[in-house]
Symmetry: C2
Subunit: 361 residues, 2 copies
Amino acid sequence: MNKHRYCVVMCGGIGSRFWPFSRTDMPKQFLDFFGTGKSLLQLTVDRILPLVSPDHIILVTNAAYARIVKDQLPEIKERNILLEPARRNTAPCICWAASHIYAMDPDASIVTLPSDHLILKENAFLETLEEGFRFVEEGERLLTLGINPTSPNTGYGYIQRGAQVTGYPGICKVKTFTEKPNKEMAKVFIETGEFFWNAGIFLWTAKSVLQAFLKYDKETLAIFETEENVYGTEWETSFINSRFPHAPSNSIDYAIMEKADNVFVKSADLGWSDLGSWKALYEVSPKTQDGNVTQNCNVLTYNCKDSIIAATGDKIVVASGLEGYIVADNDNVLMICPIAEEQQIKHVVNDVKSRFGEKYI
Amino acid sequence: MNKHRYCVVMCGGIGSRFWPFSRTDMPKQFLDFFGTGKSLLQLTVDRILPLVSPDHIILVTNAAYARIVKDQLPEIKERNILLEPARRNTAPCICWAASHIYAMDPDASIVTLPSDHLILKENAFLETLEEGFRFVEEGERLLTLGINPTSPNTGYGYIQRGAQVTGYPGICKVKTFTEKPNKEMAKVFIETGEFFWNAGIFLWTAKSVLQAFLKYDKETLAIFETEENVYGTEWETSFINSRFPHAPSNSIDYAIMEKADNVFVKSADLGWSDLGSWKALYEVSPKTQDGNVTQNCNVLTYNCKDSIIAATGDKIVVASGLEGYIVADNDNVLMICPIAEEQQIKHVVNDVKSRFGEKYI
C-alpha cells in the first residue's frame, strides 16, 4: 500500500431527490439502501480499504452528521472526520481536505469520492484508481473518472474526451464539460462516442489541486490559507468554524475542472450509478417479472407494472393497478408519484416544507 | 321516556372491508372515522340517548373488545355489556340480548342497531324509531327500517314492500328480502319503486322476537333457554360461555326475517350509509374540487381525481397522478388500490394473512 495515498469521502450532502427516504437529518448516504446491512457510506469506505489505509481516509461531512458518521464508521479516527460548519458545495470541501492532507504529507495523492453512489464492479474500480493514482503522481494533473454512457440521461454531467495520452491507455485530455444537457444534446453526445458521464470521482496530488485553486479559485483557497499551520492541530476546528462560512458556495466542476488546462479523464466500466433519483435506483435494482422493484420491503402487488415500492421496518405495502409509479413510505411521509415525474420531487419537497413544516423534510 | 323501551347495539363485528383501518383488534365501529373525536359506536349511542336511557342500552360485543367498549362508553354500566365468547353472526347475538332483556322486563320493546353506520338526519331517525316502537308495541310484529335507494348498489340487502298498513303511514308488509343482487337485478328493483335498502335496524318487543325464534329458529333459541333464570344474575356469564359457542352461526335476516310472516318495513330517509366500504365512505364524505376525499389527514395532491386518501396521526401523504384510488395508510399497512376494485379487499386481507401473518389483519 502506497503510504502517500489518501482518500477523501464527501458525505455532507442532503440527497433531496430521494425524499422521503433521504431526510435532512438522515440523508441518502447514511441509509441502508439495498438492505445489505450497510449504508452507502459504509459501502464506499469498505470499497476503498484495499487501496487506502483507514488512517488515510478523510471524511468530510456537515457538522450535523458528526454523530451518524462516527456511529457508522467507528474504524475511522475522529481526527479524520472534518466537520463543515456550513453547506458550501464541493469546492470548499475539497479545498479544505486537500489543505488538511497537504499539511500532514506534502507528497500526498488523493482520490475524492462521493459517498452515495453505487459501484458494482469493485475490482475494476480498484484497478482504475490504482492506474489513476500512478498517472497523477507523475505530474501536475487533475484526473476525473468518466463512465461510458448507456443512455442519453439528462441528469448527469458529460465529459468530452480529447487526445489520448500516450502510454496511459484509457486516459485522455478533457475537451469540454457539459452539465445536464437536454435530451437532444445528450443523444448527440452519445452518438459521437466522445462523451462520458462525469462520475464525480477525482484524483490528484494535494499539491496539484491546491495549485489549481491558486490559479482558478483564489477566493476559496484564501479561506483555507494560514500563516501558521493549524491543520491536524487542536486549532483546526475553531479556525475552520470561523473561516468556512465565508467560503463561496461552489462546485469543484465549476471552480476548477471546467477551467483548468491540465484536466484528464480516465474511462471506466464500474457498474456505476449515482443513485441520483428514484428512477436511477429503479434502473439498477433487480426486478420482478412484472418489472416491479420492491425495495427491501414486504409488498403484495396486483396488476402492478414497472413500479418501485419502498417502505421501512415491518410495514407491508399492498398495491393494485399501479404502472410506472414510485411508492415511498418512510416515517411520517408517504409519497406516491409517477416515475416519469420524479424530477418534480424537489418542488414537492418545497411545497411540503412550506405547508407542513421542517419535520417532514 | 317510555320505561319499557330498550336499545341493543351490536358492536362485535370485524369490519374487514375497511382494512387496513379496521383491524381485528380495533374494528371499524371503534374508530373515529370522521375526525369528530367520537367513534362510530359512540356516535351510535349518542344518537339513541334522547329515546332510551343509558340503563336500557345493551351493548353486545365480542369478549375481545370488552376493554375498548368500556373505555369508549364509560356511561354504560358493565352489567349492560354482553360479551360473546365466540363469533356467531347476528341471530345468536339478538336472541341472547332479547332473552336478557325479557328476563328483566317481559314488556320490553327493543330497537336493535348496528354500531358502525352513518346516520346524518338524527331527528328523522328518532321520529322513525318513535313511530316504529309504537307500531311493534301494539302487536306481534317484526319491523325493519328500509332506506329509499339512490343507486343500484349491489352491496346491500333489498326489501320489497307489500301492502301498506292502514293507519301507519310509511309502514308496509314485507313481500321479499334479497341479499346483494347483481347489477341488473338491482336496477330492476329500483325501477319498480317497490324496494328499499335493508338498514339492519330492527324493532320488536322482546316477546315477539323470542316468539319468532321459537317458530323459525328453535336451535338458536334452545341455546339461550334456561330452567332457572340466569339473565342479569352472576351466573349469566358462565352460562353464556358454556352455551354460546354451540349456537349456529347465522344472520337474523336468514334465521327470522326472511321466514316470518309478520315482518314489516318502515321506509325512512335518514341520510344513511352503512359505511360498508371505502367506496361508501367516499360517497358520503365532503370532497375537494377535484373530487378527492382526504379523510382527516394531511394530504398534498398533484393531478389527483376522485380518490380517497386516509392516513393516521401526523403522517402526510403526497400523491400525484392518481384517479379513482383508495390510499389507506394505517399502522403497519399501506394499501393503494382502485376504488373500482374495492370488492377485492377481502381477498387481499386473506392474501396478506397467509403471506405475512395475523399482525397485519
